[in-house]
């Protein structure tokens, strides 16, 4: 073969960097596209609405984003393994009902109510993972089933009642502090911390590499000695944990346990965020930073369309078109590289 590998010192030689290259280094090449899309979207809405770029409005966007943002973390992990989780929003809704009902109606101490709510979500993640790895069912079908189970359980357990005035612990992430005149909730901080945590796991540990390898080609991963089932199970379980934390954030934001919360838009928005963030539905490709950007794009769209005066039903229309566009781009680039 042609030449020997160039010595590592050659790579460290300082060279002039264009702004685009600099951006690539900071956020990682695959996230550049989504980042540009976000900048364009924000430019568009600040042109159309004077209120958009106000600090108060931007902090509102972040608060609206935090729940979808945390759901999308779990969703990213699962899509990276070439799966998909249709149940994420309803599992979160069920977790939210479990923790508020136990605390409000059953008088369970807040810590235990919270722990049980999160555990229920982890249990659903584990169930999804066990069915995908053990029975070898497609993730699509498994999570379509658990979506309905979680949906039904939410209404059965709550008896279609809302649980108001939950204990302080459950409201913790709705509390705010002030940064440069804008209110920021602890929930947003929590979301960013979770992104940092999963970024670390995906990029700095062997586990992360195994997640990518399993999503890329499970058979090749098995042949290199990776325990494919264990990796998949860990991914679905961690996703369940994320939905549990999202349930906690949801209670903090709505300040009650509502059987109708989190059932409609959150599910699709989480998937939209992941796809807009550049993660491939074919697995093995994508970044968690991209998902964060994707979640913000979704939030900016919903917020901006409202500011511009577009009716809610048209927002669904726009998000639907967005998903299809993003998935088409994914499919076209995948075909080119395959």
């Amino acid at each position: 073969m042609e030449t020997a590998t160039e010595p590592p010192s050659a790579q460290r030689r300082p060279t002039r960097v264009s702004p685009l290259q600099a951006a690539r280094r900071v956020i990682g090449a695959p996230a550049v596209g989504p980042f540009l899309a976000l900048v364009l979207t924000m430019a568009f809405f600040s042109w159309r609405s004077d209120n958009f770029l106000q600090a108060q409005n931007l902090s509102l966007v972040l608060q609206q984003v935090m729940i979808v943002g945390v759901l999308a973390i779990g969703q990213t992990l699962i899509i990276l393994t070439a799966g998909i989780d249709l149940s994420c929003g309803t599992v979160m809704a069920f977790g939210q009902i479990v923790m508020t009902k136990l605390a409000v109606a059953n008088g369970v101490p807040p810590v235990e109510a919270l722990a049980l709510g999160v555990l229920v979500c982890i249990g659903f993640g584990l169930l999804n993972g066990a069915l995908v790895t053990g029975v070898r069912l497609p993730a699509f079908i498994v999570t379509l089933g658990t979506l309905n189970i979680a949906f039904a359980l939410t209404h059965i357990v709550s008896n279609d009642l809302t649980f108001s005035e939950p204990p302080k612990l459950l409201l913790y992430f709705g509390r705010t502090f002030e940064v440069a005149g804008a209110e920021v909730t602890y929930g947003v901080v929590m979301m960013l911390a979770l992104y940092a945590f999963i970024w670390y796991g995906l990029t700095q540990t062997a586990w992360g590499r195994h997640v990518y390898a399993v999503g890329d080609d499970p058979e090749a991963a098995r042949l290199t000695g990776i325990k494919v089932k264990r990796v998949l199970l860990s991914v679905y379980t961690i996703a369940g944990l994320m939905y549990g934390i999202a349930a906690w954030l949801l209670v903090g934001r709505t300040e009650l346990g509502d059987p109708n919360a989190g059932q409609t838009t959150e599910n699709l928005d989480a998937i939209t965020a992941v796809v807009l963030g550049g993660t491939s539905l074919f697995g093995g490709r994508g970044t968690i930073i991209g998902t964060l950007i994707g979640a913000v794009i979704v939030g900016v769209f919903r917020n901006g369309l409202t500011l511009v005066g577009v009716e809610v039903i048209y927002q669904y229309l726009v998000t639907g078109i967005l998903v299809i566009l993003a998935v088409s781009v994914d499919q076209l680039t995948h075909r080119k590289s395959a």
Binding site: M1, A4, T5, Q11, Q204, R209, A220, T224, G225, I226
Partner: protein
């Protein structure tokens, strides 16, 4: 003439699938520092033999010895732990990960001390350094060890798989049709690469349909027919048509003629 002890040997391997006898008392030996090619018609038992040697299946009868000691591989992982690495035809690589990550896939090294133990932080720089060293030793040319494998040519990808095997194989490497999916020029690169692996002292078992390359690379050629090893020939004493005659069992006369030649002594 004192010949060295075989590094891997097998005697009387039998494997049945219901009525079908895939291996019918096959013998096998591989000596240090050689490339042993295995040829045989479809259904002759080549791949069953290789699976038995690499732990992908367990023979019903017979024994396998590694460095003179009897071994029972229950899985490819067992064989790998014993120092046997396998390169598969369909490139067992993760395309989206970079070269260094692929070399160390499933065997990542973490930083020393609590950072590695508690926070599981990978030693990326160390792994890149090691991967670069393997690549320059094997003279595999790539722009950067940080390139994603999917951006490499087919030959370079197979180079990654071969480099990984040679980096981790302590005893021997099995290469199962490593050039079957490649073009002419890329096949050339991989053929040269396999020779360099052998020249660095690692014995290689090569399964291939490509007779010219078998005759170019192999020190000895192990011929399978009807689940048995029917002959081991040397490319120096036998011609390609003769090897093919033994392999297909052409006519009895041709076979006897081909077989009467001296069996080669291992070097």
């Amino acid at each position: 003439m004192s010949s060295p002890a075989p590094i891997l040997e097998a005697q009387g391997l039998v494997k049945r699938y219901g009525q079908v006898v895939a291996l019918d008392g096959a013998d096998f030996d591989l000596y240090p520092g050689e490339i042993l090619a295995i040829i045989g018609d479809n259904g002759a038992g080549k791949s069953t033999l290789i699976k038995a040697l690499s732990g992908a299946l367990q023979p019903d009868e017979g024994e396998i010895k590694l460095d003179g000691e009897r071994v029972h591989f229950r899985s490819p992982l067992d064989a790998r732990r014993a120092g046997i690495e396998t390169v598969y035809q369909d490139l067992a690589v993760a395309p989206a990960l970079d070269i260094a990550a692929n070399i160390f896939l499933g065997r990542e090294t973490r930083l020393r001390g609590p950072i590695g133990r508690v926070f599981r932080l990978l030693d990326k720089r160390g792994m890149r350094r090691e991967a670069t060293r393997h690549f320059s030793e094997l003279k595999i040319g790539v722009q950067s060890i940080k390139q994603a494998v999917e951006n490499l040519s087919g030959g370079q990808r197979q180079g990654v798989a071969v480099a990984r095997a040679s980096a981790w194989a302590e005893r021997l490497a099995i290469m199962d049709e490593p050039t079957a999916a490649l073009g002419v020029k890329e096949t050339r690169q991989v053929v040269d690469l396999i020779r360099r692996v052998r020249d660095r002292g690692l014995p290689v078992i090569l399964i291939s349909h490509d007779m010219p390359h078998v005759f170019e690379l192999a020190d000895r050629i192990h011929i399978m027919r009807l689940g048995k090893r029917v002959a081991v020939v040397s490319p120096k004493t036998h011609t390609m048509p003769e090897a093919v005659a033994i392999m297909t069992g052409a006519t009895q006369a041709e076979l006897e003629q081909a077989l009467t030649k001296q069996e080669p002594e291992p070097e």
